[in-house]
């Protein structure tokens, strides 16, 4: 038997959040945590959590698993169990809507702030803007982010200033467009990050790297942005990184 401790909070009925323990027979197969939650939801249909793709692509089921953020759908229970217990809490730092569902408005507001789309004012070619294989390689380790918010919600700087510090997820995406050879708004993008909060509040704690379910390295991207801000490093001088944590 295993104990699954789940953070419960329904603002319509609960004055304060509490932890509810569900004791369940340990599944014979090493199923994913999301499957375990689905089994529990059959017992208690009031448990709330987000999920969609169940294969680590949509980023919906980010949650705090035994103190570390991760995706329930790609975390095997063998990895999650500690002393026959699993602690499930919502992503830290964001307002809780209900149980494991958090309000991600602040997270998306930061993503919106970095203008996450290609900007190029030159005349578009007939078909598409081409890129050399070498320039394309610079985007590896950047474009794979699924915006699950595991990194940003594990970052103390984002906890304290979610309205001012852009956060690792959005900064990784900012760098994805800064490094893109087809994007011509590099100076404007850097200008938008030059205040004391947007980038400089990253103190290199590296929780973001530790928790990223896609093994990306936002800290490296933030370091590159800082280098460009501080030393006027040119876009052409960006070297290919494996981008992995």
């Amino acid at each position: 038997m295993i104990d699954v401790n789940i953070y419960r909070y329904n603002p319509e009925t609960d004055k304060f959040p509490y932890t509810q323990t569900y004791t369940i027979k340990k599944p014979e197969k090493d199923i994913m945590l999301l499957e375990l939650l689905n089994i529990l939801k059959e017992q208690d249909s009031s448990i709330s959590y987000r999920r969609s793709c169940r294969e680590g692509v949509c980023g919906s089921d980010g949650m705090n698993i035994n103190g570390k953020n991760g995706l329930a759908c790609i975390t095997p229970i063998s990895q999650a169990i500690k002393k026959n217990k699993i602690e499930l809490r919502p992503l830290p730092g964001l307002p809780v809507i209900r149980d494991l569902v958090v309000d991600m408005t602040e997270f998306y507001a930061q993503y919106d702030k970095i203008k996450p789309f290609l900007q190029n004012e030159t005349q578009p070619p007939a078909q598409e803007r081409l890129q050399s294989p070498a320039d394309r390689d610079k985007l590896d380790g950047l474009y794979e982010c699924i915006l699950c918010a595991c990194c940003s919600t594990s970052c103390p700087s984002f906890w304290w200033n979610p309205d001012k510090f852009v956060g690792p997820a959005a900064l990784l995406q900012a760098y994805r467009f800064i490094a893109d050879s087809r994007d011509t708004k590099t100076a404007e993008r850097l200008e938008g990050l030059s205040d004391p909060f947007s980038v400089y509040r990253c103190h290199g704690i590296m929780n973001c790297v530790n928790v990223c379910p896609k093994d990306l390295n936002p800290n490296h991207a933030i370091g590159e942005i800082k280098s460009m801000l501080l030393s006027n490093k040119k876009k052409e001088n960006i070297i290919v990184s494996d981008g992995l944590g």
């Binding site: 103390p156 700087s157 304290w160 200033n161 979610p162 030059s194 205040d195 004391p196 909060f197 947007s198 980038v199 400089y200 509040r201 800082k226 801000l229 501080l230």
Partner: protein
Amino acid sequence: MKLGKLLWYLQRYSAIYFLLFLGYIGFIVFTGGFSFELISDNLKFKILSSLFIIFACMHAFVGLWTIGTDYLTKRTLGFISSPLSVYANFIRKSFEFFFVFLGFFLVVFYLLIIWS
């Protein structure tokens, strides 16, 4: 220069200066040259130590301002107490004012002692 860049460089260069100054002081102490005459009469020591106290206060203020804007905000004080969070801006400004005043006092006091 942008404010973010200025503060970043200020923190790093002042920290490098502290290290160099510490090495200078260590050298003087280990070679037996540390004395009242050094502090009161040596022009090089007066200039270097004056720069040290100025940089130390600036370095400390940037650090404390960072701490204040992390932990003394409406959001973070709200974790402790909702009524307290109403006064977050006042508390943070008071915190900053106190350390600006203290830093200014220390710099003026030190410069008056060392140069008068």
